[in-house]
């Protein structure tokens, strides 16, 4: 069994190597499937090429999570979402580059051997390379350049929506628990969602329909019963949409603004627009960073233990080394800077002295965010109920996905600014709500901008409908 795994892993690495060498521009993939799509496949996704983010387990290729610590690691199983894709006839196009373990927003936190991921969606004649965004940057770029019809990414605090916005495509973070996480390498379990990226809402819906299934291998994956409740609740949202615009998401120029023409168009089609107050949004960011880093510190504790991992882990070093020293060496050299930073921050948040003032405080802020969302929606949560549905509530929230267009290479902002972006994307993650970023034209610099729509839990279809409204505006 071992030898076959080794062979597989070598074949996979050869494929990855040859793809990188043969490609004249640095590509979005860390592994390209050498096989061509099968012409004989059947199913709703027959013949469709779909890229999967490199933190989603696929037994046909290494799953490195862009980390040296998992360099060449070939999972002995397929993630549930991968099984569903292939069963539906899809062709796995390749493994898409990402920020290490999902930590980052530009797809820059990668092993040094990985070439940068370019944003393929710039205006004609703009030769200055820009980032694709992150952490699912490879997935977004693969779709935008057309080598994949769709892609799976993961979204913990915006990692699908942000690159979708930068690359001018659609990126959907489903309601928490809709797509099984079994086989998806955890960053922060309570926030992680597998998401779908494609060029149109209709394509996203097709892929989502295939991978959004209950799964006995993931206890946080929504049950058939809960899905039925959600579908029934979502089907009751009919007629003109009531769209809320959170005042906290309005940032002053030069930050990206909601296009006025879009708002007018939506109003002309019968939707009503409402300013809503979401005071907890301001505290969402610190809450997110405490929770995400704490969970990451816990989840990433498993690496360096020796049961799986990179080949270099097995090499002996000179002299005596205890098991603990060995683990320390592997983790210190195996993780990149950003990951080490977040593990340390998360470890601190969980220490006895800091726990009450960091982790517990963050949990309480997370409840505030949930409460703000619950208060603003017209429909109650289909499973947990909660606040009585409000007639004056809205069906979806609308705001810019990103504060700016894709940054230029080398313009990678300092840590603080990289984090600031997250204020637009993390509240939906903390509340586990469906959120989609859909293209909304281009900014003055000619690069794409995207707008986000967020709905009640389980209302993914309502969010799709609203996003199709934005698409219709863009097409007219």
């Amino acid at each position: 069994m071992r030898s076959s795994v080794t062979r597989l892993s070598q074949a996979a690495r050869t494929a990855a190597g040859s793809a990188a060498i043969s490609s004249s521009t640095p590509g979005p993939y860390c592994w390209v499937n050498p096989a061509a799509p099968s012409s004989s496949s059947s199913g709703p996704l027959a013949g469709r090429s779909i890229a999967i983010k490199d933190n989603i387990s696929f037994s046909g290729a290494p799953t490195s999570c862009s980390s040296r610590i998992l360099d060449g690691y070939v999972p002995p199983y397929d993630a549930t979402c991968v099984q569903l894709l292939t069963a539906a006839g899809a062709h796995i196009a390749g493994k898409a580059k990402m920020d290490e373990f999902g930590m980052g927003s530009l797809t820059t936190h990668m092993p040094t051997s990985y070439s940068a991921v370019h944003n393929p969606s710039g205006p004609d004649g703009d030769a200055e390379p820009r980032y694709a965004g992150g952490s699912s940057g490879g997935s977004a770029a693969a779709v935008a350049e057309g080598t994949a019809w769709a892609a799976l990414g993961t979204d913990t605090g915006g990692s699908v929506r942000l690159p979708a916005s930068y690359c001018g495509i659609v990126g959907h973070k489903p309601s928490y628990g809709m797509i099984s996480r079994h086989g998806v390498v955890s960053y922060a379990d309570s926030l992680d969602c597998v998401g779908v990226l494609a060029k149109s809402v209709s394509s996203v819906r097709d892929v989502f329909g295939v991978v959004s299934q209950p799964d006995d291998n993931d206890m946080t994956c929504a049950s058939t019963e809960d899905r039925e409740k959600a579908a029934t609740a979502a089907s009751k949202v009919t007629g003109p949409l009531r769209i809320g615009i959170p005042i906290q998401t309005h940032l002053e120029a030069p930050n990206v603004q909601l296009p006025t023409a879009l708002l007018e168009y939506l109003r002309d089609t019968g939707a009503t627009l409402h300013a809503v107050d979401m005071p907890s949004f301001r505290m969402a960011l610190p809450a997110y960073y405490v929770l995400a880093t704490a969970e990451a510190a816990s989840n990433l504790g498993r690496f360096g233990g020796g049961w799986y991992g990179a080949d270099w882990e097995k090499e002996k070093v000179e002299g005596e080394e205890t098991g603990m020293q060995r683990r320390r060496r592997i983790r210190t050299t195996g993780f990149g800077d950003e990951v080490r930073k977040r593990i340390l921050a998360g470890t601190h948040a969980l220490t006895a002295d800091a726990f009450n003032n960091s982790y517990l405080k963050a949990l309480s802020l997370r409840r505030d965010v949930r409460r703000d969302f619950a208060a603003v929606f017209r429909a109650a949560h289909p499973v947990s109920g909660g606040d009585a549905p409000s007639k004056d509530g809205v069906d979806v929230l609308l705001f810019p996905t990103a504060v700016r267009t894709a940054p230029k290479f080398g313009q990678a902002s300092s840590g603080a600014k990289e984090y600031l972006q997250d204020i637009l994307t993390v509240p939906a993650s903390l509340a586990g709500l469906p959120a989609i970023s859909v293209p909304a034209g281009r900014a003055e610099d000619g690069w794409p901008i995207g707008v986000s729509l967020v709905g009640q839990w389980g209302h993914d279809e309502v969010v799709f409908r609203a996003a199709e409204g934005v698409e219709a505006w863009l097409k007219q």
Binding site: P76, D189, T220, T347
Partner: protein, 530 residues
């Protein structure tokens, strides 16, 4: 999957080495540095000190599979052969709880009279060690499944000379670790045990002697087996005990306690408690005013002394955090009610019922319970033997525990409800006690059935087939034969010397090989020799 893993044992610096299959005692060194106190026998200085004991018990949940993976739980098998990807913490794997483990933990909690938490949750306890591949143990730190129970002890139970309750602080579900073993400079790890479900049962400090602590463990073992939630087998390590020990002057506040970890027999538990008692008293007697260091200690099983593992100051920060992969365990009230009716009669309840209803000896009830601690089949068998003749209870228990079990032992057979059907033994007991046949006849029938294994015939048939029936005609014929054989003695009886009749009765018994009824033979002689 297992074979895939087996080829990859290279934890720490141990590439490709095989792991010895023998049971290893977790982090329990054979030799330790000597404990500070010398072994002193109880002396007058030990008087006036009260011993305070609380226990923490880890009992593997008897489901046959691991708590969050579907790997089987095994003992003493080839290392790393019962390991699923989750047990080795492969990236992307997620825990899926076994509902049977929850059911058994709930039954146990009910038997311990605990309050059941309708919404318990799982947390992660973090530390880096080879025996814990994900670097955290899933446990119930913040919201355990049950709290506030009691286990009652009555004066007269083995090792107990007062009536008291041991409070159960809490019962929580958690994962067991892997086994790790240091061989020369290599650390070898066996994941077969990793992820096995445990119940951690924490008592209040309500025990006052090592005998009481031993009695608690034995009573809990019986409870676990009867409820079916655990084997409680300390030798196999599926029940392990930590003891918290301190001493104080009666009526005064508690003093510093020390915890002795991972004790794996009742004898060692009592040894550890005694060693700690002596050590604490000696400390307070020789260094009054100096507080004892709060420590975690181990037991050196060779010397019976304890030794320091770590002091409270270097206690690890486990960074407890809710486990987001596991939703809260919400227990539906209807399910809880149905479980309440499923709690069987517990061993000590059986003892008290049978001793008071039938006057059966405690020891005999314990023997009956011991026939099958898990199902109570021994008790059920005894009750079937008694049937509706409650007045035969004590005799029936003698027949089961002495005649039947003794006969089985002699013939090297083990008991089951089928070896001698309860209905047949019931017939034997009532025939003997009703005077229809002698005890000897009853025992002969029993012996025959045990030896032949033929359980198809009823009592009457067996008696006559074995030639053991003693009809009135047979008796008269026997008596006449004896009179003919012993004319002198017969004459004495005719002349009124009644004592001599026993000589004749003895002869009848000899002839009938014990089958005859002595009382009826005596009456017959008086009738014939009027």
């Amino acid at each position: 999957m297992a074979s895939f893993l087996r080829t990859r044992i290279h934890v720490a610096r141990s590439a490709g080495t095989s792991i010895s299959a023998g049971p290893s005692r977790l982090r329990s060194p054979l030799f330790s540095r000597a404990a500070s106190s010398s072994a002193t026998t109880a002396s007058s200085s030990e008087e006036g000190w009260e011993l305070i004991i609380g226990l923490e018990i880890h009992a593997q949940i008897r489901t046959g599979s691991k708590l969050f993976s579907r790997a089987k739980t095994v003992y003493d098998e080839m290392p790393n052969t019962h390991v699923q990807l989750l047990d080795a913490a492969f990236p992307g794997t997620l825990p899926v709880i076994d509902p049977e483990a929850v059911r058994l933990a709930l039954l146990t909690a009910m038997a311990l009279n605990c309050n059941i938490n309708p919404r318990s949750t799982f947390d992660r306890k973090h530390y880096f060690y080879h025996d814990i591949p994900p670097s955290y143990q899933i446990t119930q730190h913040y919201n355990p499944i049950a709290r506030n129970g009691t286990l009652r002890f009555e004066a007269g139970e083995p090792g107990v000379n007062r009536t008291f309750d041991v409070g159960i602080h809490q019962l929580q579900i958690e994962q067991d670790t892997a086994k790790s073993q240091t061989v020369a400079s290599e650390v070898l790890v066996d994941l077969n045990r990793a992820g096995t479900g445990l119940m951690e049962i924490v008592t209040e400090p309500h025990m006052r002697s090592s005998d009481e602590a031993g009695a608690f463990v034995r009573k809990l073992q019986g409870l676990l087996r009867r409820v079916g939630s655990g084997d409680g087998d300390m030798e196999k390590g599926n029940l392990r005990v930590d003891a918290n020990v301190s001493v104080r002057r009666p009526g005064q506040p508690f003093r510093t306690r020390c915890e002795v970890k991972n004790i794996n027999s009742v004898r060692f538990l009592q040894q550890a408690i005694e060693a700690e008692r002596k050590r604490h008293i000696e400390h307070y007697e020789t260094q009054p005013g100096v507080p004892l260091r709060q420590e975690t200690r181990g037991l050196n099983e060779m010397t019976g002394e304890t030794y320091s593992l770590r002091s409270k100051e270097d206690a690890e920060d486990y960074r407890y955090m809710p486990d987001s992969n596991l939703p809260a365990l919400a227990i539906a009230p209807a399910f809880l009610e149905s479980l309440r009716t499923a709690v069987p009669e517990l061993p000590w309840e059986t003892v008290s019922r049978l001793t008071s209803t039938f006057g059966v000896d405690r020891r005999d009830v314990e023997t009956l319970i011991g026939l099958d601690e898990y199902t109570g089949a021994g008790i059920a068998y005894f009750e079937a033997v008694v049937g509706n003749n409650a007045e035969l209870g004590k005799k029936a228990s003698n027949w089961v525990t002495h005649e039947l079990l003794g006969r089985l032992t002699k013939n090297n057979k083990t008991w089951s409800p089928e070896v001698v059907p309860a209905s047949l033994l019931g017939e034997i007991v009532s025939a003997v006690e009703g005077g229809k046949v002698t005890g000897t006849v009853g025992r002969s029938v029993l012996k025959h059935v045990v030896m032949t294994g033929d359980t198809s015939k009823d009592f009457e048939t067996l008696v006559s087939e074995l030639g053991l029936s003693a009809s009135a005609d047979d008796l008269r014929a026997s008596c006449e034969a004896v009179i003919a054989k012993l004319p002198k003695e017969a004459e004495k009886i005719r002349q009124g010397n009644q004592k001599v009749v026993m000589r004749l009765v003895g002869e009848v018994m000899k002839m009938s090989k014990g089958a005859a009824d002595a009382k009826r033979a005596k009456d017959m002689f008086f009738e014939l020799l009027k």
